[in-house]
């Protein structure tokens, strides 16, 4: 089953969350990344995400497999937007269900950290000053 998804359209967290409901679940942790109106001291008007879709899909799925292996969780999902987003829109969502909250929190954190570090998705920001650019953070990919 596909647990990592790239989405062209707004993310419906209620439906995604419902897929993780299960009588054995005691703790559900989720994280959402939203488009902020500022980044590194600059006013942001909007942004665009571009992905290398086939590799992003495979690498995202790998991150979720790792989360299942490392933590005592019941299930995990992640969706990342591509295309144009406005301020306040959701860019990424992670949801994790587990019997206990320790594992749910740890896995949720792991997934968002690894997705940001490894999955081939790039952010293009448009600034209030009129310029725009791709973000290529200066950390080891």
């Amino acid at each position: 089953m596909t647990r990592f998804l790239l989405a062209q359209t707004p993310i419906d967290t209620a439906t995604l969350r419902a897929e993780l409901l299960d009588d054995r679940v005691g703790g559900y942790a989720s994280f959402e990344g939203w488009v902020r109106n500022h980044n590194e001291g600059r006013d942001v008007l909007g942004l665009r995400y571009e992905a290398y879709a086939s590799l992003a899909q495979a690498e995202g799925e790998k991150v979720l497999d790792e989360a299942c292996a490392k933590f005592d969780i019941l299930d995990v999902r992640c969706v990342h937007r591509v295309g144009d987003l406005v301020i306040g829109e959701m860019a990424v969502w992670v949801g994790v269900s587990a019997a206990h909250r320790d594992a749910a929190f740890a896995a949720c954190r792991y997934v968002i950290d690894e997705v940001k570090a490894r999955v081939p998705i790039w952010k293009h920001e448009r600034y209030a000053e009129g310029d725009a650019g791709w973000l290529h953070p200066d950390t080891k990919p």
Binding site: S54, E59, V119, P120, H124
Partner: protein, 79 residues
């Protein structure tokens, strides 16, 4: 001599002015990037990129295979 399709993303695509091209290639993937960096004026050094072949991460020391699809992956910024 191998003929490969190269994919460009993000700032590499902007700099190349195209999202892909077919190039002739001799040697490993590191050499291929060096040649294309010179041709298109890419700002990013090879140390800051990863490379993928046919949709899977690869090593810079891998030889380019004829007919394969090579993608240079600049530092990612999802999330």
């Amino acid at each position: 001599m191998a003929k490969v399709t190269v994919l460009y993303f993000a700032s590499l695509r902007d700099a190349a002015g195209m999202s892909s091209e077919v190039v002739d290639c001799e040697g490993d993937l590191r050499a291929l990037y060096g040649e294309l960096r010179e041709r298109h004026g890419f700002a990013l050094p090879v140390e800051r990129l990863r490379v993928a072949v046919d949709g899977a991460f690869a090593r810079w020391s891998d030889e380019a295979r004829d007919g394969s699809e090579v993608a240079f992956i600049p530092p990612v910024s999802g999330g």
